[in-house]
């Protein structure tokens, strides 16, 4: 009971701590002001400022000490913060003494020292709450909140269960609050010792019994339950991750065992194959470039939009553009050249059924950053297709219903990143299509022509037998 009460009182530390900061800084301001003869009178307020500031500082120290007992904070930073805080309290009492004694010169220096102490104590306090480097976080480009990409596992059986499967889960979803710099509930999940030791409530793993292990219980609770881990607002573990965690505990919490050495129930076997599949899926490059690009000229975009050209950023937080010419049958020179002015940002271009001139097709090769190009049913010819071979970032090309030939396709050598090629309704014959598929071995070549054979039953109705009474 007492512990609960002290913890409750300790939680007022963040509230109280702002009082000595404000009041003692105010004392410093008053000290500086009263050096000017016009503001001599404020000197009367200095003692009371020190008195209230010192009282507040002492109360802050007490609540701070109670809070530190919960043991959730980094020891070394906590130590610095604690002693500097105590120093603030002591110096502010001394400052009060000298201000009452009206020894202005000394109390001025004390105010100055107090100011420095306040800033450093406050900074360490912030570090305890927000983590290392919180102040300069805005300047560093790396946003640690974005995707944590675990190493893809190509061979699940040879993988190490802890290092390759369990550790990535803990790193992605637990480490932020349970590691060296922040240990909520006194629990560290970033080391073997930490995991086995457990935290404030004792051990979190009961070896061999997942249902009895606190760590597994917490992540398996109903998401609306207060005790659910990770807490509300943070991404929960997926079914698969929970399954792996359960399996790891059941098989003895091995830190250096390989997957193949462990007993694998069917559900785990399926999950392992899924993991391997995800690994191969993760290798597919995204059709959005990773590098940042500058914003395109606003007036250019507005101009194009007025001409019914749909030009949009691909997402609200991206400067890359997609252009859709679905509203136009053909484009004039001016519009074309405006589109080409967007070549740095343009990555997706859709021109279904477009009719372009020879020079226009030639200019398309200038759009070096294109990753997706849809020119189905357009008037592109073999000769013009050659120009497109210079688009070496192209991943998706839709040539459905065009008049190109296999010869032209086989002559192109520039499409190193091609992943999806659509050739339905072209005049290519089967043998040519086989040749194309073998040339673009890493590409999904879809030649269409799917048939859904009509079954007799498709148009037959089943009827209930008529029972003659």
């Amino acid at each position: 009971m007492l512990f609960i009460v002290t913890e409750f009182i300790g939680n007022f530390h963040p509230v109280l701590v702002h009082l000595p900061i404000g009041i003692l800084l105010f004392a410093l301001v008053l000290e500086l002001l009263q050096t000017n003869t016009k503001y001599q009178s404020v000197a009367l307020a200095i003692p009371i400022a020190y008195l209230t500031g010192a009282t507040a500082a002492i109360l802050s120290c007490i609540t701070g000490w109670l809070l530190s007992n919960t043991g959730e904070y980094n020891e070394s930073t906590l130590n610095l913060h604690r002693w500097m805080g105590i120093a603030v309290a002591i110096v502010s009492v001394i400052g009060y003494y000298f201000s009452v004694k009206k020894q202005a010169s000394i109390s001025k220096y004390i105010a100055f020292v107090l100011g420095i102490l306040l800033f450093t104590t406050g900074h360490f306090g912030g570090t305890l709450t927000h983590g290392d480097g919180y102040l300069t976080k805005a300047f560093s480009a790396t946003n640690s909140d974005t995707l944590f990409v675990p190493k893809p596992i190509t061979n699940a059986q040879e993988a190490l269960i802890y290092k390759d499967i369990i550790q990535p889960i803990l790193t992605e979803k637990c480490i932020k609050c349970h590691s060296g710099s922040k240990q909520k509930g006194n629990l560290r999940l970033d080391t073997e010792e930490g995991i086995l030791k457990g935290g404030k409530g004792g051990a979190i793993i009961s070896v061999g019994h997942a249902e009895k292990s606190e760590i597994f219980q917490r992540v398996s609770l109903d998401p609306l339950n207060e005790k659910h881990m990770p807490p509300k607002g943070k991404t929960a573990l997926t079914e698969q991750e929970r399954l792996f965690l359960q399996w790891w505990i059941q098989t003895g919490v091995g830190f250096s065992k390989k997957v193949k050495e462990l007993d694998q129930p069917n559900s785990v076997k399926l999950a392992l194959t899924a993991l391997e599949k995800n690994a191969s899926a993760a290798i597919i490059p995204s059709n959005i470039p990773n590098e940042l690009v500058d914003k395109a000229n606003e007036s250019l975009l507005i101009d194009l939009q007025k001409k019914a050209v749909v030009v949009l950023p691909i997402a609200q937080n991206s400067n890359y553009l997609s252009v859709n010419l679905i509203n136009l049958k053909t484009i004039d020179e001016k519009t074309l050249s405006q589109i080409f002015d967007l070549k740095k940002q343009l990555i997706w271009l859709k021109m279904p059924a477009i009719q372009l001139s020879e020079t226009a097709w030639q200019k398309i090769s200038m759009l070096q950053n294109l990753t997706k190009l849809s020119i189905e049913h357009s008037n592109i010819t073999d000769k013009q297709l050659q120009y497109l071979s210079e688009l070496n970032q192209l991943q998706y090309l839709n040539l459905v219903g065009t008049a190109i030939s296999s010869k032209a396709l086989l002559q192109i050598n520039g499409w190193k990143k091609m992943r999806q090629l659509y050739l339905a309704s072209t005049h290519l014959v089967t043998s040519e299509l086989i040749a194309i598929q073998s040339k673009y071995s890493k590409t999904e070549v879809d030649t269409g022509g799917y048939r859904v054979a009509t079954l007799v039953t498709d148009t037959q109705l089943v009827k209930a037998p008529i029972i003659k009474k």
Binding site: E239, Y450, V452
Partner: protein, 499 residues
């Protein structure tokens, strides 16, 4: 403004002014002046601040395309809703244990404290009335009722543990499509066009196609725009007769005259807008102009006779008649032309077993035959045109069906049938960045309740918005003093089926 139009507007204004005498002013303004004052105070306070909500609505061009929050994989959605609730136990959820219990009394534990639409007393269990097999490389369980769909099982992600809390058709359909079992909220298609706009200038952004003989029970509100500006509502295109009602000019009126009259109306509207600044007026102007363009573009795109013979064979369409197959082909054509959201409703899946049409071994089988080939053709056709990756296809009903044979008023129904069931049903998704060949969610051995991987209609809505590139918690619209979103305060994106 042309002299002619000026005169018309002047005449209209004069007539209005003649009605408004001083007596009228004093009589009407008893509450009027007070209300005007309040209105002017409130419009000055930007109560909700300028959040992303109303910034999306550019009154002058309500359907102007916008970029989504992040780059979503899907550019369009085709939602195939089987109104009446198809029986998951005869289609996708294979329960051999239920076969063992066929004909036995339903255990009390499944009936305690539960409310059913029509079941009374103790019903008998009804085993699956179809043979199931595992299909494709993914091993998806699909019954013999859908032989064609079985061939494309590897493209589909199944959600087998969908749960709802509504067991009546109307509210359940509203919940699935508008996020609330009560009327008044915008449908998914309305939110999608509000968020993304429409890329094709000549076609509406949200089109609705119905088949099966009846409207869905929830009525037209299930594709309505709710509190969003009415320009975002679904436009119903019909397979038979006029593609869109009341768009065609009356006999004897030529197109130029129509254009001139629309121009005159819109000029009057613009003048009114200058006076009152009501955004709904601008939406109206946009709709008139869109309707004019649609007179040409819609009959064009709705004409399936142009399609080559092999396409007709693939879908099993019957040109001239209204049918689900025709609608599916139209959906593909609309998506090809850049329509954002195509909603199909097929009526007739409510297999209670009260008559032959509602029997799971007769009526259901026949319904399956009408949808099997077209849906398979749709997936393959989108694939060969390179559109499957950017088109999200969703299939499902508004709730499931019970593992028990329905006994209306305590008497077993004349045919084999099942009652409405909220605790578990199946919905599937394909294309648009969804994983291929997976299944998420499981039900117990008799298919009564969901035991893992439960999802709700809100989760499905959140997932649809996610594939379109929206964070469902951030696509909002301020109304009645607070920000509303499609998923209200619920919903999570079902990451387990996203590639």
């Amino acid at each position: 403004m042309s002299k002619h139009n000026k005169r018309i507007i002047q005449e209209a204004n004069d007539q209005v002014l003649q009605q408004l005498t001083r007596r009228h002013f004093f009589k009407e303004s008893v509450t009027g002046v007070g209300a005007m004052a309040l209105g002017s105070f409130l419009s000055g306070c930007n109560w909700l601040g300028s959040k992303d909500g109303s910034d999306l609505l550019n009154s002058a061009h309500p359907l102007m395309p916008h970029a989504p929050h992040f780059a979503g994989k899907a550019k369009s959605v085709i939602y195939l809703h089987m109104a009446g609730a198809p029986s998951q136990l005869e289609l996708f959820d294979f329960k051999p244990a239920l076969q063992q219990l066929d004909g036995q009394d339903c255990p009390q534990s499944l009936l305690e404290g539960k409310k059913f639409a029509f079941i009374r007393g103790v019903p008998k269990m009804l085993g699956p009335q179809a043979a199931f097999k595992q299909r494709g490389n993914s091993g998806a369980w699909i019954s013999d009722n859908l032989p064609h769909l079985s061939t494309v099982a590897d493209e589909i992600s199944f959600l087998k543990a969908v749960q709802t809390d509504q067991f009546n058709h109307g509210p359940a359909q509203l919940l699935m499509h508008t996020g609330s079992a009560r009327l008044g909220r915008p449908s998914i298609g309305a939110w999608a066009t509000y968020g993304l706009g429409s890329e094709n200038d000549n076609l509406p952004g949200f089109v609705v196609l119905t088949s099966g003989g009846n409207f869905p029970d929830a009525g037209k509100s299930v594709w309505g725009s709710g509190f969003l500006p009415s320009v975002y509502q679904g436009v119903q295109c019909r397979g038979e007769g006029d593609p869109v009602l009341f768009v065609k000019d009356p006999a004897g009126m030529d197109r130029d005259l129509r254009k001139a009259s629309i121009d005159a109306i819109n000029e009057a509207n613009r003048a009114t807008y200058e006076e009152f600044k009501d955004p709904e007026i601008v939406a109206r102007i946009a709709q008139y102009e869109m309707a004019y363009r649609m007179q040409i573009s819609v009959p064009d795109v709705m004409n399936i006779n142009d399609e080559p013979a092999y396409i007709h064979e693939m879908y099993g369409t019957q040109p001239g008649k209204a049918s689900f197959a025709n609608n599916v082909l139209l959906a593909r054509k609309l998506v090809e032309k850049g329509v954002r959201y195509v909603q199909l409703f097929d009526w007739g899946w409510d297999t209670h077993g009260t008559d032959e049409r509602g029997a799971v071994d007769y009526g259901l089988v026949n319904k399956c035959r009408t949808i099997d080939k077209p849906i398979t053709a749709l997936l393959l056709d989108l694939k060969q045109r390179g559109l499957l990756d950017e088109t999200l296809v969703v299939w499902g009903g508004e709730f499931g069906r019970t593992p028990m044979q329905e006994n209306r008023d305590g008497k077993k129904n004349p045919f084999k049938g099942r009652d409405h069931h909220t605790e578990a049903y199946t919905i599937w998704m394909a294309g648009g960045g969804i994983k291929k060949g997976t299944s998420y969610g499981e039900t117990d051995e008799i298919g009564y309740s969901a035991i893992s991987g439960k999802v709700t209609p809100y989760d499905i809505q959140a997932t649809i918005l996610n594939q379109l590139g929206f964070d469902h918690e951030k696509l909002i619209y301020p109304f009645q003093g607070r920000s509303f979103r499609l998923t209200d305060v619920y919903g999570r994106v079902i990451n387990e089926i996203i590639a």
